[in-house]
Symmetry: D2
């Protein structure tokens, strides 16, 4: 199956390139009778959009989705919901120089190898801009989940070598209190400084996003090949620049003994739960009712001003230095993308679970 | 879609429980005219099967698949290839005590929450034994890939806190030279000792498996939602006990600067390649022609003899100490499973790529 | 996607050839906690099996499915349900003569063109025997539907040029009262005679099967591409020898005027229904709550004793006369197959409908 | 899976309602490097669009698709191809009267039963207008097939009780020579007269469309559940108002003997073919290399001016007489839809076949 559709029962089919007319998506499978909260959708769009702070690219897009179908008198009808997000501030000329060069760390070379052709303007289909529709679709999914008491919150837990220390009971109100989206204000300040330094130096930084899913009932996720962590990992590795994923304590668990790693069961208020939650809210790939938590590692932005070695299409060595607008660190803007993809995973597994009832 | 099928064009539909009559699978989509190498299949089965060394459970299974269909005069016909692997040495009585208890770290509680019913004998459908058919299907996929010059090799790179140091040009012949399947013989010895100590103590250990895919041509993997690393991550998180996945340098990349992380392009012998390979053989989710490498982190085996706190179905606190046969460390036997799942990912993406040509 | 799986949420993956060890299937997606009625399953198997009357082939198979997985203490667990049906009375020698010839009306030539290889023994994968697992899976689906008050009944409404006249309120008890499975006993007698005459003459006959689905609630079927009639048509054309399908009055509707064809709505006992039901229980591809009825046209069995012109693999003209055991008319044994496929369609659409609730 | 996507490898995901802003689709899986022939696409759009002759509705739409993505310098890039077709001449006021009534023969009642909500303007998602994007996608598929020597031609072979007699070697140039799209000019004249009479009388007519697929190589179609006739039947029953489908001689075959029905094989010019083609170009669900031909039966248009009995939402009996613009007979405009759906089936099976090579 072609690969521009995410989900099986709540299906999001995306389209669009960085410098085409628009990006967008069609959502099929959305239940009927839902009154969309357009303000909440726009809020997530705004958290992702370029130009929102000094830490991000200066490309200026309002990123307001236009809905073309699937709504009647403000409610979903059960028909596909299509929306487009116009590309307004695309300067294709900036990219003419890229026609012949393979930018290190980018998908230029591999797209050309795969398709024999490449829309080089702004990265074309491989541009981070193509994830804007994910955020819109994810915000709709979040609304459905929220009605069931499920909360999804991601935040920046590391930028480069700076790690945040986040208290166990994260106050999500602190996440957007700074431009980095790190609720540890001390770390956030250092991160911000590091990002601006990298920008100054024409370099870039990577980072880590942590995400919590609260209120997910026990029983979601399907063995063997739609396990909740597998679906989340797949969703997160769909995001540009992601290179690592951990559920619960992740790789740290591989260094523990079983007697240290296992979460003991206990009863509390007539409810069965685990005393600790090292496994991250899943057992055997199925949600346990405990909070689900995971981490996503991003490599630094590939586009840097510093000169790099590369080759052109003829394989001739050339030096390459990026001139266009770009982010020095992608993680602050990726927070709503992580949330969106987590929401799309959950709503699909929820519907899968319901289908059997 | 239900979740016991892996792949879209090379589809493996699995079935079976630990203590039922058999586990098995149906492979649909296999090209016609392939002469199966049953010796190679059995070799991978043997690497996974229980009872192969002092490091593994003493359950004794020959794990010889019986093929029921899809073959004619030794060749595949294009019809589905079904095979079963009988369960011979299953002692269900060992598990009667488990009927009422939720074992910490296991899927007992979540399966019961999901399905309202649970086959408690040996973990039922959540047992590691249900992965035996994956190895058989993967071995067939490996054969198809091998004919295209693709090699898949996994090995144990960490057990608990002991990490191997592996030379860049791994000699795959060393992998099976010891029971741990770690080609660094010095580390392997320490690992073996650690596993036996854990066994002695009634405890268990986790570990890390590294995997290399060599000879994959540039252009495999499909943006946006069938990216090669996303498919690999999904496949690896389908394996029991997996809690972390990294492609290339993984989380280490999130701590680098762009100028450090990017792999410069260069020409060598008229071929475009990258000078380094921190990204792990993929760019934009598509193979670059460089070796693909990734790491998979496993939590320690949940079944331990040491007494643990748990609850029974009524939520009453009970102490629980496992008596049955089990592995003190799962990673040596998981090596062929990692290889199998990688092969299933690659063969599916290969066919997807071909479909468009 | 490969094509040996039927359904999306209640998925049946089939395997097996006429003269291999067994045919069978894996059912994935079956809800947990269902107590299977094995007697009802066997009853449908027996209605399809060969050798049941003078009208059918003398191949002798007991066709008793063996369940390998997915059951625990007699109930489904939510895990895949695998079953095999052994091939006992297969005489491959009968078919050695077929190795080099393309039998008219059969799939010999096209399978060889498609796959480059062909299991010629008894038609291999294209044999009618490969539909036995459909009947088993369908009987399980019927059980789920029956618990919701849905009844599925098919019967033979034509054999060759003999058409039955069936009263509107069909008494389903009459269907199995004769070997033809036609509840119009006068017609049934003529049909039986015609079939025996064809057998005598070394020739074969086609026929038509009519099917009624009662108790299906309004609202099943999904626009645009999972409409109920489209799914039924797809299911019926999967059956060997099917060449025509009509829902409701079918082609007769194309000769009516709108004022004649439309079914007027009316209220009866506080329930909205249609006065007539020419459309066959669907409007816009969605069930209306009225009985669904459709017809399936079968061509005559391709295997006949009468000599026919054909060619061998080298394209040389040869005369060909079938010697093996075969049915002179397939429709009596196809009745349970039509019911099975209708049941698989309905259970899948039921689950799809539930997923959105 | 939701149902607004057609195809598995060449996937068309549709959206839009009769009176929304636009209808459209996203095509995913289209091979890269194809230069689209926009003239040929528009030609098919024009053959379907309303207002093209006295036989069709007077709604006036230019039906020019706008492509939003997937093209670069006039060629496909392998990225999804999204297009929208604006709705210009929609007069929603015409439909206010329909809010409370269930129109006989329409999907009003069943959509409301399914979704609990209904966009009543012009039939909303169930409108024939929602098939416009199918024609655009199909025209693109036709272009891909045409490059492989495959021709797809449909024509009207019956209107009401008037049947055309069409010579075996149909000259496709005659199809569009009249407004009915029947190449038998004598019959066409009668059909046209009958349609205009029905229009005058406020009534409507049904009809039959025949379709030929020439140049399809032997070997396309996948047993067991993607057989070519099954896929075609599914595609055709997706079209509004379709009630019957026959491949080859269809139901007439059910009245023949095997010795009459079987197509004898012969060699001609070193090529194996069948002497006759009653089976319609398929054997065992796989193309034989002979022309594929099938028939599609349409019920008469449900919207008529003649007064009909119905009920409103409260179940109260009301008389209903349609006032809006509508076609008295849908088959002339359905010709390009049948061709489009046939093309989508073929291109998908072609890619499926290629995937295994």
């Amino acid at each position: 199956m072609p690969a521009n559709t995410f989900g099986e029962l709540f299906r999001v089919s995306t389209f669009g390139e960085s410098h085409g007319d628009a990006v967008g998506a069609v959502i099929d499978g959305i239940p009927a009778g839902i009154e969309l909260d357009f303000g909440a959708i726009q809020n997530q769009m705004d958290r992702r959009k370029p130009g929102q702070s000094a830490l991000s690219t200066s490309r200026n897009e309002s990123d307001i989705p236009t809905f073309l179908s699937g709504l009647f008198e403000g409610k979903t009808t059960g028909a596909p919901l299509a929306f487009i997000i116009p590309n307004k501030d695309s300067r294709s000329n900036d990219y003419d120089a890229l026609k012949e060069v393979y930018r290190p760390g980018h998908a230029d070379y591999t797209f050309e190898q795969k398709f024999g052709i490449r829309d080089h303007r702004g990265g074309g289909r491989s541009s981070a801009r193509t994830m804007a529709p994910w955020v819109c679709a994810g915000a709709i999914a979040q609304q459905i989940l929220s009605a069931k008491g499920i909360q999804i919150n991601a935040y920046v837990s590391a930028v480069g070598e700076i790690e945040s220390s986040v208290p166990e009971n994260l106050d999500t109100n602190f996440i957007d209190a700074n431009a980095v989206r790190c609720p540890d204000t001390v770390a956030a300040e250092k991160m911000e400084k590091a990002i601006l330094q990298a920008k100054e130096a024409g370099d870039s930084l990577g980072g880590v996003i942590s995400c919590f899913l609260k209120g997910v009932p026990a029983g979601w996720g399907e063995p063997q090949f739609k396990k909740l962590p597998a679906e989340l990992a797949h969703a997160m590795f769909s995001i540009n620049a992601v290179k690592g994923f951990e559920i619960g304590e992740g790789f740290a668990l591989s260094r523990m003994k079983g007697s240290e790693a296992n979460d003991a069961f206990e009863s509390a208020d007539g409810k069965i739960q685990t005393r600790t939650n090292r496994t991250g809210g899943v057992l055997g790939g199925i949600s346990s009712g405990m909070p689900i938590h995971f981490k996503v590692g991003f490599k630094p932005v590939s586009t840097i001003r510093i000169n790099q070695d590369s080759v052109n299409r003829e394989g001739e060595a050339i030096g390459f230095s990026a001139e266009g607008r770009h982010d020095p660190c992608v993680v602050p803007r990726a927070v709503p993308i992580v949330e969106a993809m987590a929401a799309l995973v959950l709503v699909d597994l929820m519907m899968m679970h319901q289908a059997r009832l």
